[in-house]
């Protein structure tokens, strides 16, 4: 433990310079802008600026990327709040409550709630990264395919809370889940390197990219839906119709106390899920949202602008940002796309991240940690607060007839620059229409997305476990962890359904929010 503080001190000396702080501000600003533009991911921005880091100082380069990463993790919630188009996939869960809240005129409250939740979640996760990374990484390593499969199954049950209440809505929710799982089947079957539903397009071999899928289903379909409201939009003309409600200091304090439990729970949950490869921020945000909803009292206002519905997913998805670096710095294994970009950034600087770097040059790793802790605060105060002030001002006299086409162009640029493949633009259009049809007919999108992300991990790990176990299901009950997780998954499924069944009679507040119903 003492070592850590010595290392941190040395890291501070090594890293703490005005230039590096400037890198954080620039990086965070890039991340916020990329994250706030629907369709353009912070990771895309990171990939695009990666080649330029060849000529930069190591820590400057890494601080720049780190800032962009953190900025993007927060900024997706801005457009999610204001126009119900998540700027990044991980903000999809936030939109469930932040959009209704901003519709009431409490835009400032919704935006600030998301920002402070991000800072809190990010900071808790940063501290966990610094102090518990090695043991956490060891635990993550010990989870084999069987355990991961069981864990994913458990995470999937969080979806249940996102389903509607009537029997009709529940069946439709299950159909959404199944369709999400089916869409994820497209591409090469990794276990046999053969094709499934590829229809002869080699562009589909690697499957439907997940960012593309989410932007299409949430952003493009939203634009199509807004198109129906054209006449209404003209009456509203921006947000003139709703009077903005200011956010006072006593209210901030009240919200903080009200959300504290969810903030802490989501931060830890997010850090844990983030340390496991493959789960990612989007899923985590939904799981945290689901957990907050599950633990709330009956009379909650989730889906209608409950502050906890903003705080929980935002704290969760920002906690992922730091903790997804745990496998990278302790094992040299990138656990997410962003971590893979960071891996590249280290490699460009002539360092290979992993346990060796931690031993050979601790000042670099701990310097990075120090910058990481600073990023959240510097970014929030120096970049994010002014930014949301400007955005709110701009939005007040926004011309929607120009805004939505512009959003579409941004999405297209974002989708294209993921892999520079024109085929993906066509896929984007097709999925956008699919998303529109689903939403118009009351099939909710979040369960679809969650199934789409988790399905392949579940399939892959189950089949890997079976392969290693020689085809028998033995692995699932000989491993205690897997067994416990499976029992938990089944129990939470039964419990959620039972609660639904009872809630259906009393018509409780667990309804799917209107924007996702239509």
């Amino acid at each position: 433990m003492g070592d850590i503080f010595i290392n941190l001190w040395q890291g501070t000396i090594y890293a703490f310079s005005p230039i590096n702080l400037l890198a954080i501000v620039i990086g965070y600003a890039i991340g916020v802008i990329a994250g706030a533009i629907p369709g353009v991911m912070a990771v895309t921005a990171m990939v695009l600026i990666l080649p330029f880091t060849f000529t930069l100082e190591p820590l400057f380069a890494i601080a720049l990327l780190m800032g962009a990463y953190k900025g993007g993790a927060y900024a997706g919630s801005i457009t999610a709040t204001l126009v119900n188009i998540p700027g990044t996939p991980e903000a999809a869960a936030t939109a469930l409550d932040s959009y209704p809240m901003s519709q009431r005129g409490e835009q400032q409250r919704a935006l600030e709630l998301a920002l402070w939740a991000s800072v809190i979640g990010g900071t808790i996760s940063n501290l966990l990264l610094i102090f518990t990374a090695p043991p956490l990484a060891e635990v993550a390593l010990l989870l084999g395919p069987a355990e991961i499969a069981a864990l994913i199954l458990f995470s999937l049950t969080a979806v249940i809370t996102l389903l509607g209440d009537s029997l009709l809505d529940i069946w439709k929710g299950f159909i959404s889940i199944t369709l999400g799982l089916m869409l994820a089947v497209i591409g090469l079957d990794n276990m046999s390197a053969t094709r499934r539903y590829v229809f002869g397009f080699e562009d589909l071999d690697s499957g439907v990219p997940f960012v593309l899928c989410i932007i299409a289903l949430l952003a493009l379909s939203e634009v199509f839906i807004q198109c129906e409201r054209v006449r209404q939009l003209h009456i509203e003309q921006g947000f003139k119709g709703v009077k903005p409600i200011p956010y006072t200091w006593p209210q901030r304090w009240k919200d903080f106390k009200f959300c504290l439990k969810d903030l802490i729970r989501s931060s830890f949950l997010g850090s844990l899920l983030g340390a496991l490869p493959g789960i990612g921020a989007t899923t985590t945000a939904f799981v945290c949202y689901g957990e907050a909803r599950r633990s709330a009292k009956k009379d909650n206002r989730f889906g209608q602008g409950d502050p906890r519905g903003i705080a929980a997913p935002e704290a969760g998805n920002n906690a992922v940002a730091a903790s997804s670096l745990i496998p990278l710095v302790t094992l040299g294994i990138p656990g997410s796309v962003a971590a893979a970009v960071m891996y590249g950034a280290f490699m460009i600087q002539g360092m290979i991240p992993g346990p060796m770097l931690m031993q050979e040059r601790p000042e670099v790793i701990y310097g990075l940690f120090v910058l990481l802790v600073l990023t959240d605060f510097i970014g929030a105060f120096m970049v994010a607060l002014p930014f949301i002030y400007v955005v709110r001002r701009l939005l007040r006299r926004l011309d929607f007839s120009l805004f939505f086409p512009g959003v579409m162009a941004c999405c297209v640029v974002g989708v294209y620059s993921e892999e520079f493949n024109v085929f993906h633009l066509r896929l984007f259009f097709i999925l956008g229409v699919l998303g529109y049809l689903m939403r118009k007919n009351g099939f909710s999108i979040p369960p679809f997305i969650l199934a789409f992300i988790l399905g392949p991990i579940l399939e892959r790990n189950t089949r890997t476990a079976l392969l290693i176990g020689g085809g028998s299901l033995e692995v699932f009950y000989t491993s205690k962890v897997a067994m416990i997780l499976l029992i938990l998954a089944v129990a939470s499924l039964v419990w959620a359904l039972w609660r639904k069944a009872r809630g259906a009679e009393s018509a409780g507040g667990l309804a799917v929010p209107e924007e996702f119903k239509h």
Partner: protein
């Protein structure tokens, strides 16, 4: 008649004059190069390391575009559709022009491409965990022979050279081992570290950090020569097997690109990989071996390995075309 002949001769002369002119002028605008993998990997960083030197030689920018997907086939199929004017080429790993076209139906025929040059090849190491009871490949093989079907090894995907090389060894020794495909080399290494599979055959970079911190034990080098990272680990050939695992990075033009452009890019690559900076970075930081092959040698190497890897694909039942 006479006029026609004169005209024809003139045309020919003009045409001949135009050809060297193209060689002298080329390139007159930026050259686009596809990278068949996502940004941030070894290949990507290597390609970006040599790009500035290629630009220096060519006098025009080289724009690198990452087109990942289908083991590189997406980049090559896009290349196949591009204008063969010498301003678009693609980097390609050897499997994309050898094994993948034999595993699935693609929109391009790898025989048609114009092979420019190959700047480097990859190195492969066969690892077990540091606390594993085997200290040599022989001991491992003996164990696998006694426990058929119970020994598994990690690969970065089915049909990758990492998988095929171990499959070759297993066939040769009559072993029954289970290949477990993971999503890339790092995950396959992680599975060994976590004890979920007994061994893995991985490219160097993914294992460097874990190996250096003493968590992995190398049993054999699968590539042709010993490597600086693990100088004491013998190669398969030294152990008496007539085999090594080979995969290289190369550059290809779309079918029908003029020779003048090919020659120029070949020279640019040769220039880039003879820079001391590049050699140092490649060997000390990226752990790949600089090994320049000109267009002809690269093409021959490709044809040779099309058959070698194809044969092993057939043995493991993955050859479809």
């Amino acid at each position: 008649m006479r006029k026609t002949i004169v005209a024809l001769t003139l045309c020919l002369a003009l045409g001949l004059a135009a050809l060297p002119a193209m060689a002298a002028d080329y390139p007159t605008k930026p050259v686009t190069a596809f990278v068949p993998l996502a940004a941030g990997g070894t290949t990507d960083v290597f390609v970006r390391t040599i790009a500035p030197y290629m630009e220096q030689y060519l006098g025009k920018p080289v724009t690198l575009i990452n087109k990942a997907g289908s083991g590189g086939a997406v980049a090559l199929s896009a290349l196949n559709k591009a204008d063969p004017d010498g301003y678009t080429f693609s980097w390609a790993n050897l499997p994309t022009v050898t094994t993948i076209p034999q595993m699935r139906k693609l929109t391009y025929n790898p025989d048609d491409f114009v092979y420019i040059a190959s700047p480097m090849h990859y190195d492969y190491i066969f690892y077990v965990r540091n606390d594993a009871p085997w200290d040599s490949l022989d001991a491992f093989i003996a164990y696998a022979r006694e426990n058929p079907g119970r020994v598994s090894y990690g690969t970065p995907g089915l049909g990758t050279t990492n998988h095929l090389a171990v499959a070759w060894l297993a066939n040769k020794e009559g072993l029954k081992m289970v290949p477990v495909p993971f999503k890339g080399n790092p995950k396959s290494v992680a599975a060994v570290l976590g004890g979920h599979v007994q061994a893995c055959n991985t490219s160097t970079t993914a294992s460097v950090s874990s190996y250096k911190s003493g968590k992995l034990k190398p049993l054999a080098i699968f590539s042709a020569k010993r490597i600086p990272l693990t100088p004491d680990t013998p190669t398969l050939q030294e152990m008496g097997y007539d085999f090594f695992q080979y995969s290289c990075l190369g550059a290809v033009f779309p079918p029908g690109t003029p020779e003048a452009a090919r020659k120029k890019i070949e020279e640019a690559i040769r220039f880039a990989v003879s820079q001391p900076d590049v050699i140092k970075k490649a060997e000390e930081e990226l752990y790949v071996s600089i090994d320049f092959l000109d267009g002809k040698a690269y093409r021959e190497r490709r044809d040779q390995y099309y058959k070698i890897w194809g044969g092993i694909l057939e043995e493991v039942g993955l050859k479809k075309f």
